[in-house]
């Protein structure tokens, strides 16, 4: 029989090992979705605490990192849920008139791209672009410029690969609001990435 003391010591040991082994990974995972250092750190802490408590239920089948990431994913979604209220989109989220300038032009073709702001051909690959730390910085800067819910909606879709329906349920938004937020996010991110990266390099 192991004494309670030994078991407790081992738990403390495991937890410290987790921080060393998976801390950076879990933190980077949370940060990419929340864009806030202290919330990311809090959720990593919540995750490891929950893992300590449910350690006996961990079956050892999946590897430890996968198991911990699974818990973190739930914590992140819980965090989004906590922040969700059933409120309609604010003007800041739904008003697209801030993007009208992209489609304004002096001729009879108004509504089509302004020739100076037309989307360019991006002559690169995702792998090559991501090698550059400035590019990664631009991605997170551009995401940060979006209204909170639009950014969350976009990351749940593009990073976590959730379906529109699940995202609506987490963020408590209607499907129509989902389309508005995603269109807004994509229009903005595309413009922001092009302007800050592809028009400069």
């Amino acid at each position: 029989m192991e004494s309670v003391q030994t078991i407790e010591n081992r738990a403390a040991f495991d937890a410290a090992v987790w921080v060393d082994r998976y801390g950076d990974y879990l933190y980077a995972f949370a940060f990419s979705r929340l864009r806030d250092e202290s919330i990311a750190e809090d959720l990593v802490q919540e995750t490891l605490l929950a893992a300590l408590q449910s350690r006996s239920r961990y079956d050892g089948k999946s590897n430890e990192k996968t198991w911990l990431t699974g818990i973190l994913k739930h914590k992140i979604i819980d965090h989004f849920r906590r922040g969700s209220r059933q409120v309609d989109l604010t003007p800041d989220e739904s008003d697209m008139s801030g993007y009208d300038y992209l489609f304004e032009r002096g001729d009879e073709w108004s509504g089509h791209w302004n020739p100076n702001l037309e989307p360019m051909l991006w002559n690169s690959t995702p792998e090559a672009a991501l090698e550059r730390s400035e590019f990664r910085g631009i991605l997170s800067h551009c995401l940060g410029e979006l209204p909170e819910r639009a950014a969350n909606c976009f990351t749940l879709r593009e990073m976590d690969g959730l379906e529109a329906k699940e995202i609506c349920e987490i963020l408590m938004i209607s499907i129509n609001n989902y389309w508005v937020l995603m269109h807004r996010a994509r229009l903005h991110l595309r413009r922001c990435i092009e302007f800050n990266w592809f028009r400069k390099v």
Partner: protein, 102 residues
């Protein structure tokens, strides 16, 4: 002859472009097409618009590029290519919090 064909093609493109939703109104549909199945009618409208508009061809390909970027970033993260990490202070805070709870 070649010149004439070119002119006819341009006229046809203008003809189409005037009857189709403009870029401002078709871009939301491009976004939706990445997240749901589009109807046959929507598919045809998008195809025709893309036929008349090189800028929108770029737009749609940029959106796909962005999807891939975020997916690739996830794969990089999976392979421990991390762009942010815990500060030593944060690491200590975590260990302390865990110790007090265990």
């Amino acid at each position: 002859m070649k010149e004439l064909l070119g002119k006819v093609k341009m006229q046809f493109i203008f003809f189409l472009a005037r009857r189709l939703p403009d870029c401002k109104h078709i871009t939301p549909l491009f976004s939706e097409s990445l997240d749901r199945k589009t109807t046959l009618r929507e598919k045809i409208v998008m195809r025709l618009h893309l036929f008349t508009c090189g800028a929108c061809v770029n737009y749609l390909s940029n959106l796909k590029f962005m999807s891939e970027v975020f997916q690739t970033q996830e794969e990089n993260l999976e392979r421990e290519k991390l762009s942010v990490s815990l500060s030593p202070e944060a690491r200590d805070r975590l260990k302390k919090a865990l110790k007090s709870q265990s």
